[in-house]
């Protein structure tokens, strides 16, 4: 269940942004990616999640083991909190959503439409989705955006519990979560100019 990233280069919009990234995330461990805006953290996470191919290098992860959470939560405004979570639980072949609802303090919001939640509440619901997937490797892109300090603590506790139960997590974040995990600064891996634009990269042509 170890996530292995070996000598990976990633490209965004046909331009290499990071190169030579190598790390392992074994079960029970977490890794936080740090680096300035635009350095390629999101691109790296999307690549590891399998949404885009790596330009170079290899990414090894067990099949069907990654739960990905991006900037947007994938919530439907016209469905209630419970309906949103139930949908994702069914997609991932699970049925129990009570742990997720309690874990992210959503009990009082259960029957509200997701569209009427505040930004922070939506974010909590989006993160609760991770718990219903039942997948061991979490890949989180800026998970704490628009969360208040209490919710950040809630989130940190959820990650801690996930790690203790043998899961692992790869996060990109700018704030201090108080987690006992390794930190990788991706700044030094910025792609050099010589790498430049990649010829033959089939960007969208429309």
């Amino acid at each position: 269940m170890t996530l292995r990233v070996k000598n990976v280069s990633v490209a965004r919009g046909g331009v290499a942004v990071l190169e030579g990234i190598t790390f392992d995330v074994p079960p029970g461990k977490g890794l936080i990616l740090k680096g300035p805006n635009g350095v390629g953290k999101t691109t790296l996470l999307r690549t590891v999640a399998g949404l885009q191919p790596a330009f170079k290098g290899t990414i090894e992860a067990p099949e069907e083991s990654i739960a990905y959470a991006a900037h947007s939560d994938g919530l439907k405004a016209m469905l209630t909190v419970v309906e949103n979570l139930k949908f994702w639980a069914e997609v991932f072949g699970k049925s129990d959503i009570s742990a997720a609802i309690e874990g992210f303090d959503l009990v009082d919001l259960q029957d509200r439409l997701a569209g009427s939640l505040s930004a922070g509440q939506k974010r909590r619901l989006g993160l609760a989705r991770l718990l219903v997937t039942g997948r061991p490797i979490w890949i989180l892109d800026e998970p704490t955006v628009s969360l208040d300090t209490a919710s950040v603590a809630l989130f940190a506790r959820a990650v801690e519990q996930h790690l203790q139960s043998g899961g692992s997590a790869l996060l990109a974040t700018h704030i201090e979560l108080g987690l006992n995990v390794d930190i990788l600064d991706v700044g030094p891996f910025r792609a050099t100019a010589s790498e430049g634009a990649i010829s033959g990269y089939d960007e969208a042509f429309l």
Binding site: G50, L51, Q52, G74, W88, R129, L206
Partner: protein, 218 residues
């Protein structure tokens, strides 16, 4: 996959879901035709199958850009792509949901609208048959177009431009089937051609849609 279908149907019926939009548009097109060509009933009888088919096709087109664009905007598509559901199944289910919320109401309403255009009595059964057989193809081809244009700002117009030429074979044989049925001629050739087109696109296009979606999600 059942969850995705049920969710899409639920969303279509809730506020802002757009259910009923296509059928209302279809009704308006059919009502406007007698105003524009004049109230001559023999002329209307002659053009009724073609007008009904064109109206149904345009009504179908109206809701195509919602198939994938909404899921793209709120990030659902990225999350579904990393879920256990294969993208081929996702686009098939999306097309099915579109057909159930747009195509089926059109099929049901078409006989009623046929009255407005003085469609001959023997034409109704073939109008319904042709639409029931042809509208699934419209939804599946439309989903392919939606996958091609997903992520493009104001992709709706581009989607129409890309998709309308692809609708031509379905329109030709669908309208021909309805016309021949209305005039009491042999219908087997257009019927078989229309069925061939529909089952062909259902079998092949989901793979193409999933492939372009993968490229667009990068």
């Amino acid at each position: 996959m059942k969850a995705l279908l049920l969710r899409d149907l639920k969303l279509a019926f809730r506020a802002g879901g757009g259910f009923g939009l296509g059928i209302a548009f279809f009704l308006i097109v059919v009502i406007l035709v007698p105003f524009s060509v004049g109230p001559e009933s023999s002329l209307l009888t002659k053009i009724a199958p073609g007008i009904l088919w064109l109206g149904a096709l345009l009504a179908c087109l109206l809701s195509l850009d919602r198939i994938l664009a909404l899921d793209w905007e709120d990030g659902t598509l990225d999350l579904v792509a990393t879920s256990p559901l294969p993208l081929e199944a996702v686009v098939s289910v999306k097309a099915l949901a579109h057909w159930l919320t747009t195509g089926v109401p059109l099929v049901v309403a078409a006989p009623l609208f046929g009255v407005l255009l003085n469609l001959p009595a023997e034409g109704y059964i073939w109008l319904v048959t042709s639409l029931a057989l042809g509208t699934p193809a419209l939804s599946v081809i439309g989903t392919f177009g939606a996958a091609l244009t997903v992520g493009i700002k104001r992709g709706g117009l581009l989607l129409s431009l890309l998709i309308l030429p692809l609708y031509v074979p379905t329109l030709i044989f669908g309208a021909e089937l309805a016309r021949r049925g209305a005039e009491g001629q042999a219908v087997s050739t257009p019927l078989l051609m229309l069925a061939g087109i529909t089952f062909g696109v259902i079998a092949l296009l989901p793979f193409a849609s999933a492939a372009v979606l993968r490229v667009n999600l990068r």
